[in-house]
Symmetry: C2
Subunit: 169 residues, 2 copies
């Protein structure tokens, strides 16, 4: 009895991205009901040097698809990062969730000690699979979904923590 890499990665990502999709739907409905230009929410930031809502969602989905692909030894799907509407952001989330569903547990399980290397413009990060998931992907993934939520809450969208956590039972 133990937690598998699949349960701790793909299952978590799908749940949270589904919750994020519900939150974005509520934001889109709010914008429509209040006759507010949706781009005001999509470009909103909590600080001038923080990313806007659209980028928070791009990075959250990047974390999920990047993690699942790397653990499974697949190429990371590349997206254009050009979403500017709620519909385009929802499409990106749906595309990510479909990719996650396409991966079987057997492709991910056993990747605890798999060597993972991330190249960024400024540095190279090397991990084993388990610390990559628990100590890099999780904090980043939750950081960007929570910040997306916080941007919308700060701008008056009627969402609550239950929308974020989902039904945990």
């Amino acid at each position: 009895m133990s937690i598998t890499m699949y349960q701790a990665s793909v299952s978590v990502f799908i749940r949270m991205l589904d919750n994020l999709s519900v939150i974005l739907d509520k934001a889109a409905s709010h914008a429509e009901a209040k006759k507010i230009d949706p781009s005001i929410f999509i470009t909103a930031r909590l600080a001038p040097d923080m990313y806007p809502l659209s980028r928070q969602i791009q990075i959250a989905t990047d974390m999920a698809k990047g993690c699942a692909a790397r653990l499974a030894g697949l190429d990371v799907p590349s997206y254009e990062d050009n979403e500017t509407t709620f519909l385009e952001l929802q499409t990106r989330i749906a595309k990510t969730v479909a990719f996650l569903h396409s991966i079987d547990a057997e492709q991910i399980n056993g990747s605890e000690e798999k060597s993972i290397t991330l190249r960024t413009p400024s540095r190279e990060l090397s991990f084993l699979g388990q610390p990559y998931l628990l100590h890099f992907v999780f904090p980043n993934f939750y950081f960007h979904i929570t910040t997306a939520y916080a941007i919308l809450r700060h701008n008056g969208v009627a969402i609550g923590k239950l929308d974020f956590v989902g039904n945990p039972e």
Copy 2:
């Protein structure tokens, strides 16, 4: 080879609470340098009906101590929830980290199917240990730490995502 409940719970909580402590230290230094009353940060909120910084930290630590205690079959340590200064919030974090360090891996491991019941004023939630950790505690824990970070960033404290994620290697 697999992820143990201890690795996915206590190890994650300690890392993230240590990062939170560094973030609060930077906020306290910022308040001092700018001669801003620290209570302005401690009572700051992202929306009028969201919790202030102090409560975000109380709930984040509650999630960590509650999860570790329940998985280990111990009484959940009870705190007074009366912190109003950076020092008191740091003390609460340190107390929580000390409690987490007092628990051995063997007390937590094997709790994947342990029956967990949470009673709130409005409802009772029942879980098995693993979904409790992955789908209830994680989103709540990260939600409140990220929101604490976002409150401080929104109010001009010079912190970055590396402070939040820590050194993942």
